[in-house]
Amino acid sequence: MEARLSLILFLLSILSLISLSFAHDLQIVNSERRIDLTSHIVKVFLTFKVENTGTSPASEFLLAFPPAQADHLALVKAAVAVGKKKKKIYIPLDVSPTELPDAPNRAKFTSISLKNPLNAVEISQSESQLVYYHDSAIILSPYFIKQQTTFIKTPNTRVESFSRVDPTSRAGTELKYGPYVDRAPYSFSPITIHFENNNPLAVVEELVREVEVSHWGSLQITDHYKLAHAGARHKGVFSRVEYQSRPTISGISSFKHLLALLPPRSELEIEPRYPLFGGWKATFVIGYSLPLQDFLFEAPDGRPYLNFSLGCPLLETVVDKLTIKVVLPEGSQDPSAKVPFPVKQHLETSYSYLDIVGRTVVVLEKTNVVPEHNSPFEVNFQPVVMVYYTFKPFFMLAEPLMLASVFFLFFVACVAYLHVDFSISKSYNGHGFEQVGLNRQHVPLY
């Protein structure tokens, strides 16, 4: 389960910087970390107070992640508070190890094996789901940290066990590690928390979303979902009678409903064909069409651009692999997509309804997408994809014209066939046609 958890990291640093210099001259005066484990998406809020001890100004601030977390990191958001006026800057941080070439001891490799094999990987229908959370009690950082505290919030009071790194205290649903003082860079202290989390871990293993633009006025969206329950694997029997008669006890970790928010403020409740228990999967397709004018705009240079939010409309759902295919109308050219975070992009061609040259498809691929991706977070953060392209309105008429001409030719051919005599030997003289007509009327049997 831990393997399935996705991390969201909110970095809120209070930079009291006068002059920033080389990375090693930075030190963290005070840091506070709040880890929210209530849902299946782990949210980490880090607050740093950073001081520059060097002389030269520093423009970079590095964050380190243990590899296990780096693999599941979905989103990093950072905001800087300067003085009282909170000005928030949004920085999509790259966390690949190549970003830390100077680190003496690469963060990726310093950590000891974090992923312990999980013991309770299978539960039966009536058991509740217990999960592990692995982390370090001390914030992993390339900088010297003077003082730090970590708060971990669990979904309920039932915590089977947790590692102690004194001072550690527990109050209600909150665990407190620290404060620790004067920790060297890259110090590490593994902790494991074993707690109950009955939130169904809805994971969309693969979401293929086709967005088809028609300049006749509609935007057709088709979502192909591969849904899985990524929680503790279901073990043994599934008893319908228990599931139906004792819904509160039996199958609490399964999920029956999913809520999807669709663009024009509509909610769609999706009920899988069967309740999903841990490890169970289902697939489904949702298709809908939207009026185009809400999504297609004109750029200052006159090119049309499509503007729509990215990500999965299902609430509280992680998408492992998201593929967005924007099918542009036939004849459109020079597509370019603007996405606020790095994605894999390539172009394809698809054919539908009497296409001849094919439609350009902009394919965007992103792994590990969490719900925050599709809700506006900051003023200057637009979680939308913008696809620019050029399109001549004449192409809209290509297919109707083609159909009209084909039918026209067909009728011409019919008329020609009826008026031209194809027989090799003439069996009729001058008024043969009339003769045929008469014959037909008199001899209907032949």
Binding site: V237, V241, Y274, T283, I356, V443, Y446
Partner: protein, 781 residues
């Protein structure tokens, strides 16, 4: 006078053109009607494939579109009949699949992105429209355009055909009925024209029919019967020869190309009639030829010679045939054909055929349900066909007579009766209408005439009379032309003038009173309206249910039971790809198509022993069943249970057939063990064998916990044994309404340690082996 002639000519050309355009549009509307009346299932439910066999056809079509035609011919399907597998390419009638595959391919090459499923769903309605047009052509050949249009309109909405061709009912019959009618049309067309072109087309149409449906044997027996009838009644002509001989030669050659038929086209008894008639027609042709070149005296000598020689040849051939046929135990007839010839055959010897409800003989209400008022119009049509009898009309008479017999044997073959009934009723209605309208017209004319005579105008009325005659006698002339073929003495064009005169006299005699005609027409229209209402009702209510999605209407509103797809989706997503699922054969096709899991038996009931093994397992106690299933590598067992929601066609209701089929191969399963005093019951009076068998246990496992009483809504009784545990199976999935329950075979227990237990197990195995030796055959050995 010449001007009048010209004017009349022009007018009639216009009339013909107008009539042609009118009938074209009527036909177009009939096609639209045939297509759209079958869309109720899509509108009321959804665009899904229906029932059982269509799922197999759909799966084959998917394979064809994905892998191409060559892979399709060589397809060995290892997902079914585990561990035997099935050679799909060689055992399937490919017509439907190839048709839908071609449709899909054409659409896709035009870049119309319809899914294979959509194409499959709408194949049947499209071909119903084609069948309606083919009926028009056939009936037009028999009795003219009016009858053709009426018959086409009737066929477009005949309930019997609708039941097999609603949108989603993607089965062989959907295209086969079109092929059947079209083959008959081309046969009649060839018979009427004597054109070799149509004869070749006829063979090709027959080939398409062979590709499509096993019912092609009906054609290859009916056409020889008709040819023989023509010969016997002295109607032999060169046209008959051209219509018959190329069909047999080309048709048999082409039929042998279809892998599923292969050498059966010359080896089985179903085809022998055609060869026999083929020989006879040649003998007759030779006789006629010799008769033509010899003087009557010489001819008499020749007749005796040829008859004796021909008899000798025939005798020799017959002897060979009989010898060949006698070597096979079923006398060369397949089981289904035999059960046609002897309706009691299947119930006596082949329980698998008898267990299928569509193989039961129909009841009288089902005739009324399926062909409705046509049943009353058919006799009138037959009479109309005898007035006068032509080659073509004798064919449709033969067609209706044979199909009535066949439909009486199997409900399924009501489908073959439906087109014949439509043609007959079309002829009857059309003839009736023409008689009534003619008498109305005639009498109105008379009324007008008497008035106009008073006014002193005679010329116009005269021309009007001649005109009505010009419009009407078309039919009678054609008939007259038909007549000379009877004796083949007169030339064809001889008595046209005479005939028109005679028919004019006849027409005047056939006039009915005005009031009677008007009332009769009103009644006929009423009858037609009743038919239409019934057909629409049947299409909308009775025949549109896809049977994988069930609905029920209660006071609370509409309930949808989508349990089958729930279960198959669960299997598809949550079991291993190579897991084997055992269920009764009804659900085999659906499991392979919808869940993509390997099944033990399926609806292609080619291996009786295998089905009997599953039947035996279902009727055995838990441990024995586990052993059978385990030996077959089965991981999941699927049962259909309707007791909670009252779904009547569930496995408990089919269970006696499992016992019978199982007992037919493995005699230790005895039907009386499951019956209490000859009655099949599952309540407290049920036999212990019944209450201990696997099917009972899997169906009713923990059923009592739902309502505390375990009341079975289908059988309307409390079940006999309420509390029990499963030792060798565990429930892994049950659908929302409990209609499908899936159990997993528990892994075998570890070996038991300890001396005492070992001896015990040895003892039990010894007794088991003793038992085994006492049995005749054992399923898991």
């Amino acid at each position: 006078m010449a001007a009048i002639e010209n004017g009349k000519k022009e007018e009639s050309v216009l009339r013909t053109a107008f009539g042609n355009v009118l009938s074209f549009f009527i036909l177009l509307l009939i096609g639209i009607l045939a297509f759209s009346i079958r869309l109720f299932s899509v509108i009321k439910y959804e665009s899904v494939i229906h029932e059982f066999d269509p799922y197999f056809n759909y799966r084959v079509t998917q394979f064809l579109t994905k892998n191409g035609i060559y892979d399709f011919w060589n397809w060995f399907d290892d997902r079914t009949w585990y561990p035997l597998g099935r050679v799909i390419g060689g055992t399937v009638y490919p017509g439907l699949t190839l048709t839908a595959g071609t449709l899909w391919w054409i659409l896709n090459s035009l870049n119309i992105p319809l899914s294979v499923e959509t194409v499959c769903v709408f194949t049947a309605p499209i071909f119903s429209a084609n069948a309606a047009w083919a009926t028009y052509l056939l009936t037009k050949e028999v009795k003219g355009t009016g009858a053709g249009l009426t018959a086409a309109a009737l066929l477009a909405m005949v309930p019997s055909y609708i039941s097999r061709s609603v949108a989603g009912s993607y089965d062989n019959e959907a295209v086969a009925i079109f092929a059947l009618i079209f083959t008959f049309y081309l046969y009649i067309k060839t018979l009427n024209t004597g054109s070799l072109f149509y004869a070749t087309l006829n063979a090709l149409a027959y080939f398409y029919m062979v590709c499509s449906w096993g019912g092609y044997t009906f054609i290859i027996n009916l056409i020889p019967m008709h040819a023989l009838l023509c010969i016997v009644t002295g109607r032999y002509s060169s046209r008959l020869y051209i219509a018959y001989a190329p069909l047999v030669v080309l048709g048999t050659l082409l039929a042998a190309l279809v892998p599923v038929v292969g050498f059966n086209a010359v080896m089985t008894s179903e085809h022998f009639a055609s060869f026999l008639v083929f020989i006879i027609i040649h003998v007759v042709a030779l006789v006629y030829y010799i008769k033509g070149i010899l003087s009557p005296k010489m001819f008499k000598v020749a007749v005796t010679l040829i008859v004796s020689a021909g008899l000798a040849v025939c005798g020799a051939v017959m002897a060979v045939l009989i010898a060949m046929v006698a070597t096979s135990p079923t006398k060369g007839w397949s089981g289904r054909s035999l059960s046609l010839l002897d309706p009691t055959y299947a119930s006596k010897y082949i329980p698998i055929i008898a267990s299928v409800s569509e193989h039961q003989p129909p009841t009288w209400p089902s005739y009324f349900m399926d062909i409705n008022v046509l049943a009353f119009l058919v006799p009138a049509g037959i009479i109309a066909c005898f007035l006068p009898l032509s080659d073509a009309s004798s064919f449709v008479v033969l067609y209706i007579v044979t199909s009535v017999y066949f439909s009486g044997v199997m409900v399924r073959l009501m489908l073959v009766l439906a087109p014949a009934a439509c043609i007959m009723s079309g002829i009857a209605l059309s003839e009736a209408f023409s008689v009534f309208t003619r008498s109305i017209k005639f009498q109105l004319l008379n009324l007008l005439q008497s008035k106009k005579i008073d006014a002193g105008e005679t010329i116009t009325t005269d021309s009007a009379v001649t005109q009505t005659d010009a419009a009407k006698p078309a039919k009678s002339e054609g008939i007259v032309k038909e007549r000379p073929s009877k004796k083949n003495k007169k030339k064809e064009k001889e008595p046209v003038e005479k005939a028109t005169v005679r028919s004019r006299i006849q027409k005047k005699l056939l006039v009915l009173p005005l009031e009677a005609s008007v009332i009769a027409i009103l009644l006929l229209v009423l009858l037609g309206a009743f038919y239409v209402v019934h057909c629409v009702w049947a299409a909308a209510e009775a025949y549109s249910a896809p049977s994988i999605v069930l609905t029920s209407r209660t006071r609370d509103g509409l309930h949808v039971f989508d349990d089958f797809r729930e279960a198959y989706a669960w299997l598809r997503h949550n079991t291993d790809v190579d897991d084997k699922v055992a269920s009764w054969w009804d659900y085999g096709y659906q499991t392979t198509a919808m869940a993509n899991r390997t099944v033990i038996v399926d609806n292609n009931t080619w291996n009786n022993t295998h089905i009997a093994t599953v039947g035996t397992a279902m009727s055995s106690p838990e441990k024995a069943a586990w052993e059978i299933f385990n030996s077959l590598d089965v991981k999941y067992v699927l049962v259909v249970f309707g007791g909670l929601v009252g779904y009547p066609s569930d496995d408990i209701n089919k269970f006696l057939w499992m016992v019978r089929i199982g007992g037919g191969v493995f005699p230790h399963i005895k039907e009386p063990d499951y019956l209490r005093d000859g009655q099949y019951r599952i309540d407290s009076q049920a036999t212990p064998t019944m209450l201990n068998c696997l099917m009972y246990k899997l169906s009713y496992y923990r059923f009592v916990e739902t309502d505390g009483q375990a009341f079975d809504r289908v059988r309307q009784t409390e079940i006999g044994r309420k509390h029990f545990k499963l030792t060798h199976f565990e429930e892994v999935f049950t659908t929302h309404h409990w209609m499908v329950r899936i159990y997993k075979l528990k892994p075998p227990k570890n070996r038991i340690r300890g001396k005492t237990k070992r001896t015990k197990s040895q003892k039990s195995s010894a007794t088991a082996s003793m038992k085994r030796s006492s049995r005749k055959r054992n399923p898991w050995q």
